[in-house]
Symmetry: C2
Subunit: 572 residues, 2 copies
Amino acid sequence: MVEIRFSLFYEHQLPRPWADGQELRLYQDALDQVEIADRVGFDYVWEVEHHFLEEYSHSSAPEVFLAAASQRTKRIRLGHGIVQLPPAVNHPARIAERIATLDLVSNGRVDFGTGESSSGAELGGFGVRRTEKRAQWQDAIDAVTRMFVEEPFAGWRSPYLRMPPRNVIPKTVQKPHPPLWVACSRRETIQFAARNGIGALSFSFVEPEDAGKWVDEYYRILESDECVPAGFAVNPNVSVVLPMMLHEDEATAIDRGIDGAHFFAFALAHYYGTTPHDPGRTSVWDEFQERRASKGFDRERIIANAESLNVNVGSLRGAVGTPGQVVDLIRRYESVGVDQISFVLQAGPNEHEHICESLELFGEAVLPHFTEGREEREAAKAERLAPAIEAALARRKPARRSPPGYRIDEDAEVARVQRSSRSRRPVRQEIRAAARRRATRGFYTLVHGRTDEQIERRFGPGAQRLFFTGMARAYDPSAAAGFAGDIEFRLTPGHGPATAWTIRVSGGRARARAGGSPEPDIVLAARTADFLRVLAGDENPATLLMDGRLAIRGNYELAPKISEMFGGPSPY
Amino acid sequence: MVEIRFSLFYEHQLPRPWADGQELRLYQDALDQVEIADRVGFDYVWEVEHHFLEEYSHSSAPEVFLAAASQRTKRIRLGHGIVQLPPAVNHPARIAERIATLDLVSNGRVDFGTGESSSGAELGGFGVRRTEKRAQWQDAIDAVTRMFVEEPFAGWRSPYLRMPPRNVIPKTVQKPHPPLWVACSRRETIQFAARNGIGALSFSFVEPEDAGKWVDEYYRILESDECVPAGFAVNPNVSVVLPMMLHEDEATAIDRGIDGAHFFAFALAHYYGTTPHDPGRTSVWDEFQERRASKGFDRERIIANAESLNVNVGSLRGAVGTPGQVVDLIRRYESVGVDQISFVLQAGPNEHEHICESLELFGEAVLPHFTEGREEREAAKAERLAPAIEAALARRKPARRSPPGYRIDEDAEVARVQRSSRSRRPVRQEIRAAARRRATRGFYTLVHGRTDEQIERRFGPGAQRLFFTGMARAYDPSAAAGFAGDIEFRLTPGHGPATAWTIRVSGGRARARAGGSPEPDIVLAARTADFLRVLAGDENPATLLMDGRLAIRGNYELAPKISEMFGGPSPY
């Protein structure tokens, strides 16, 4: 016998017809339920990420729900069950960021479940090829786990993701990263989980005896050479899912819980099969009402034959029954080595009050049967698996340590990323902007850290002409707010005579020429070296002004706009 | 004089060097601060979305932080300041989903700030062309706001986003959607906000007098024909941002707050200018220490000249001072019509305890000066603007009402979405899978709702051959878990003799042939019409079994695998 852990599993189901305020109540009720689950001793709450699956799952942003739950709970672990990894749905950097942020607000309570989604509604909605989704999963989980551990993430170049080196922040509280899981619906994917050294989150209703075979196979593979971890830690766990509703009276439990369990299974088949679906119009609930009996979801018959259903409890009734029955059922899963059972209570039309009562009853009458000595057994399991895990981790390609000296280079990086996805030639405006930024960057390195004399020696009148001409060329009429007139610059070198330059703005264009202006709207006077520092982005005009190194005469209001007018930085 | 509202603004700054546990403390402290802000009467908390901007902003998943904050607060509004709209960063459907989910967990307290980001670190990291980002914003905000109000969202086809019709769920609590804002850093973008009928979130430090001109221009445009709302509601508001630190003793306030204000401005210039940045290596804090004086951020000088800084309070000191000074400063913004002031307290090395003290002091000594009669003035403003807003909304293209009858069609939809981004021909496997799904869908409509007799009349032995051959062709070895052998199907029509079909699995392939098997591993017997219903996805084999309409002989364990082995649905 091994340890067993218990969790809640949420799809946020909402059968039609919908009334105003129902989604609000659905979410608020779920938060209340999670708070109870935490208090009575549940170990995890799992929250799906599904898109567009009306009625079946209104849980499209689980990162938000789990973050809210983090502040209503103290101990319960917050599981993504699962995050959809194809980059067209979630950019891998955004996944790493949201997992880490959730780990921070919850003080290290995140479990990171992963998957690909498999409904036509989702794959079609985001344009993910079914034949590529497994490859995308494999690619993205490697990238995301590296984002957790590499500082900086050394970049990526695959058919599904191109990204330059960046330090992806924040980092997770749990090191090297939260436990990894993958959604499984059949034996093959459970083997896949084992080969990747991650937890198997089985979402199909499975009998204890079948589960036992899966578990044996899972651990056999996980402890073998076949296991090459997808992450930088191994998470050896198998979880199965069951519908649940508890009551001391069996008939009441069934009465309260069977519609939810049935609707869950029916709606799942609706979205994952080939049933036609008209977005915003099809009523899955109506179809369920009409066809439930023919699909084996006959309410009256189930209730009448409650007793006989024990033979098939996993598939159609799950943990809908009395605490005694559920303890027995759990024992069967426990005895075959299942590590976690995840219970679905919020399903179909199941009522909030009944769910809350069931959770309380579970805490009182079921949980105490399974907690004694659990930590010790878990420690023993960890000890037993430690050598295999160490060996497996040695087979995983390690985090990369990229050499210092990389420089963020927007234009080159965008070009590289875009080459992968679109073959469009840059427009002239882009080529110009890029050239300007390259020139400024080069210029920066030439002036940064130099003395006034060094700068002035290098940049005589010829070079100055280049810079003022460039400045005029960078003129952005949208930042000029209709200004037209002359801007005069007076440059005083350390030695020798002052020089002047004028930029004239008129008719939506700007031109630079040597010499002062007969009627300047504004005159800016500074040392030559300081001007060049500003042009190179190494100094701030506001600083010069405050330090008395820049003098302004004329239209003061114009001064703060000059930088942006000529291509200077702007934060948004 | 108009109403004025107060908010907190968070970047989650974390100057180097970093120690273990610092990010955790940063986040936990911020949650504590927001709780205080809510209690003392702040109206909003704004949270940025920035990526890879080490030290400057560790707030890369604001949806998670704000969701956590929602459960620690009762009244304060939760503002995204901002969400990055380019689809390469956030898919528009995921934006609509996270905004709606946050609105649900917070009971309708979300403000939806939008923007594009403008740092090379972000644009280069996600491969967003600078020249296209404004067009992407315009495209995405139209799509996202339609996702809020259209049921179903009627689909999208632009250079930046292709999406088939889907009902994007959940929906927001606030109708038609949360207030919209756009990040502004200069006059031109504030005009842009006005033309789009949305709030202007100004993030550059601006003097009251300049702000006044912006406000006048903003409301002039907003009330003119130039305003064509980007959303389905108008949000007439201008917000400015200021650093803050409060203490009854001015020198103490400056001592506690000036480093944060200075680091904020310095790091902003670092990331939005052309300063070279080596991800994971550059220490912005070290550069700040080295160059702050030359950039005008001279700590000693600021403190020594505290008094004189009133002339330039917006740019370099903001609301760092005594409650009295800050009341005077706010009056100046209030008198020119600014609607909201957003205060940055968490910045650079500013300490949590000082931030908490400042928030309490603000609630005691500043806020009471501005709350009296605020609701009345806001109501008057709303009344004054109502006709202009109504006229503006009439200029916006309305929500589309698409006709019923659309059917989700994964293959066609993926092909359409992918055509926009990649020109890759589908592989043979995909063509086959698509053909299979089309056939099953067509078949479904042929059997659905028909009587046994109707079905059997249509599908004689010739048609049956087609279906069993198709089933064998759909064989997926990965779901067979190594099975090899014969699966026999016995079909009994309402009238006439039974027929048998056998599928033989061997060598990783499956073949169908008419007739029984000499040595079947499993025999499945049912009425012909029921078999065809299962093949068409209109019936569930488990149902038939429970109803006694399907009999199984032989290897029982094989039965539940058969559906998946032959291309049946699987939820993940």
